[in-house]
């Protein structure tokens, strides 16, 4: 036995060093005051925000490695560049992960992939335009709730996970990232995010400002005064938005449960809204807008669109008044397709007028100007 003892010890040490281990990248607590602002500049980071149990901000970022050598683990951890600074009531966090880690903290991947056939399996289905039927606000909320699962299990990753399952278990390398920031309700958040996966589970009742490029963003509620969101080339989902100015540029998917007192400026984006509430205005260029329902007291809704595709539902049965004017615009209604105001002078002509019904409660007025647009009334 004695001659083998060193061999056994060596094998054990190798097994232990290559099995699962956790590396804590960041574990810090900051005290806050009434007017504290949290300023975040994140790149390639997946983070979940939760409400803090007290007045402190908690940062906890850990990476779980499976079957990575110590040197390799250190190498990955060292790739994260983190700068933290507190100046009076301002807490700054600048964090940059390498694209090796990606931004999806829950997604598991290994680095020894040798096939990407799973990436291209369902490309045809993905690029096909689907006919979207009317949805209720509850349906949109349910879609948002399940969307994290959808995002994680989208066609690429679903196939990838299947691929992982088929693979031999013994040599699979894995990295799982978990980053949670717990923020007290009174703290204002300023967020600059590049290729990030951000989920804010608690209701944001103070001013929230976000500027993002790519990535996935999921919110419960944003209702703080003077909130502002500028997002491009990503996915945005929110259950409820109020008092916010939204700018969406080339967004692949925007889903909002309901919207109140909000200005939206959008360009080449796909936007679905479960319910339009009070004082909503949209200015758009070349987007696809799906406005499923209007709140019982929405009062006023204005839309100006150039090359916009506007989809409205149950227009005849809902008691609101509506005026649609424009030029070079196509109307699809009752199975008929008609073009309006195809004039070269680009003068606005009245396309459609809907009167209010006196017999039932009145919801509000819709005013639409469409230039080179498509109006689908379903």
């Amino acid at each position: 036995m004695k001659p083998y003892i060193f061999s056994i010890l060596f094998l054990l040490s190798v097994t232990i060093s290559f099995s699962q281990s956790k590396e804590v990248v960041l574990d810090t607590v900051y005290k806050t005051a009434e007017n504290t602002t949290l300023n975040l500049d994140l790149t390639n980071v997946g983070v979940v925000f939760e409400e803090s149990p007290d007045d402190n901000i908690y940062f906890n970022y850990e990476i779980i490695f499976s079957r990575y050598s110590k040197g390799r683990r250190e190498n990955v951890v060292n790739q994260s560049k983190i700068k933290m600074l507190q100046e009076k009531n301002l807490i700054n966090l600048e964090m940059k992960n390498s694209s090796f880690l990606g931004f999806d903290y829950r997604f598991i991947f290994d680095e020894d992939t040798n096939s990407i056939s799973w990436l291209t399996k369902n490309l045809k289905n993905e690029t096909k335009n689907l006919l979207i039927k009317q949805k209720t606000k509850e349906q949109i909320l349910q879609e948002i709730e399940l969307s994290q699962e959808n995002i994680l299990n989208n066609y690429q990753k679903r196939n990838y996970i299947e691929y992982l399952k088929k693979k031999s278990f013994k040599l699979k390398k894995q990295i799982i990232q978990k980053f949670v920031i717990k923020v007290p309700k009174h703290v204002k958040i300023r967020l600059k995010a590049t290729e990030c996966n951000i989920t804010i589970n608690h209701k944001l009742t103070t001013s929230f400002v976000m500027n993002s490029f790519k990535g996935v963003f999921k919110f419960n509620q944003i209702s703080g005064l003077n909130s502002r969101i500028i997002a491009s080339k990503g996915i945005f989902e929110a259950n409820n938005l109020q008092n916010t100015r939204l700018e969406f540029l080339d967004m692949y998917q925007v889903k909002i449960g309901d919207l109140f007192n909000t200005n939206v400026v959008s360009e080449t984006s796909k936007i679905e809204i479960g319910e339009i509430g009070e004082n909503v205005e949209i200015k758009d260029f070349s987007s696809k807008l799906y406005l499923y329902n209007f709140h019982k007291n929405f009062t006023k809704f204005e839309l100006t669109g150039d090359y916009t595709e506007l989809n409205l539902y149950k227009v005849r049965n809902t008691n609101f008044s509506m005026d649609v004017s424009g030029f070079n615009t196509a109307l699809n209604m009752d199975g008929k397709k008609t073009s309006f105001g195809a004039s070269t002078e680009k003068e606005l002509t009245k396309i459609l007028h809907k009167k209010r019904k006196e017999s039932s409660p009145f919801l509000g007025n819709i005013d639409v100007i469409l230039k080179n647009g498509i109006l689908n009334i379903k």
């Binding site: 991947f109 056939s117 335009n129 196509a330």
Partner: protein, 174 residues
């Protein structure tokens, strides 16, 4: 018994015999017949040149296949095929969009968008060189190509719908 060796030759009658007249010619002829046959030396000069050329060619071939061009991974080969496929489709869609779109401002705006997507693609390609088999980088690349293609397809469909013939100038009341 001492003897003078010259006495031996004085008594010999060998030299008394007459030599035939054509003795010299016969001798040369006989001599010629007795000579070993001379073989012509083969020249290996050209063979050497051909062998050298063949050696050089095979060396170059071997170098190109094994050293100069490192073997591409399966992922890289698949990625190249996907990229090629998409770029052909994007070009096709763009050409047919430009044929039906009359608004120059719209064309310019979409042109700028495509340039932005292309610049982003180049950035991601650099990451791919750094991490060749990384899922996040591969997904970003394919997403970029998909978005570009979908963007042009959508606006092309939009313009097609606007160009339909059934026109009206009367307001619809509902």
């Amino acid at each position: 018994m001492e003897r003078d060796i010259r006495d031996l030759f004085s008594k010999d009658d060998v030299f008394e015999k007459e030599i035939p007249k054509n003795h010299r010619e016969d001798f040369i002829e006989k001599l010629g017949k007795q000579q070993p046959k001379k073989y012509k030396k083969r020249s290996y000069k050209y063979l050497k040149i051909v062998a050298s050329v063949l050696l050089i060619i095979s060396c170059v071939f071997f170098y190109k296949n094994t050293i100069a061009l490192p073997e591409k991974s399966a992922v890289e080969i698949q990625m190249q095929a996907i990229e090629k496929d998409y770029l052909i489709n994007i070009d096709k869609e763009w050409s047919s969009f430009k044929e039906i779109a009359k608004d120059t401002i719209l064309i310019k705006k979409y042109e700028e968008k495509l340039k932005e997507y292309d610049a982003d693609y180049q950035k991601i390609t650099k990451h791919l060189k750094e991490y060749p088999n990384n899922i996040n980088v591969l997904q970003s690349l394919i997403d970029n190509l998909q978005r570009r293609l979908q963007l042009i397809k959508d606006i092309k469909e939009h313009i097609k719908e606007l160009n339909q013939k059934n026109t009206s100038n009367e307001t619809i009341y509902i």
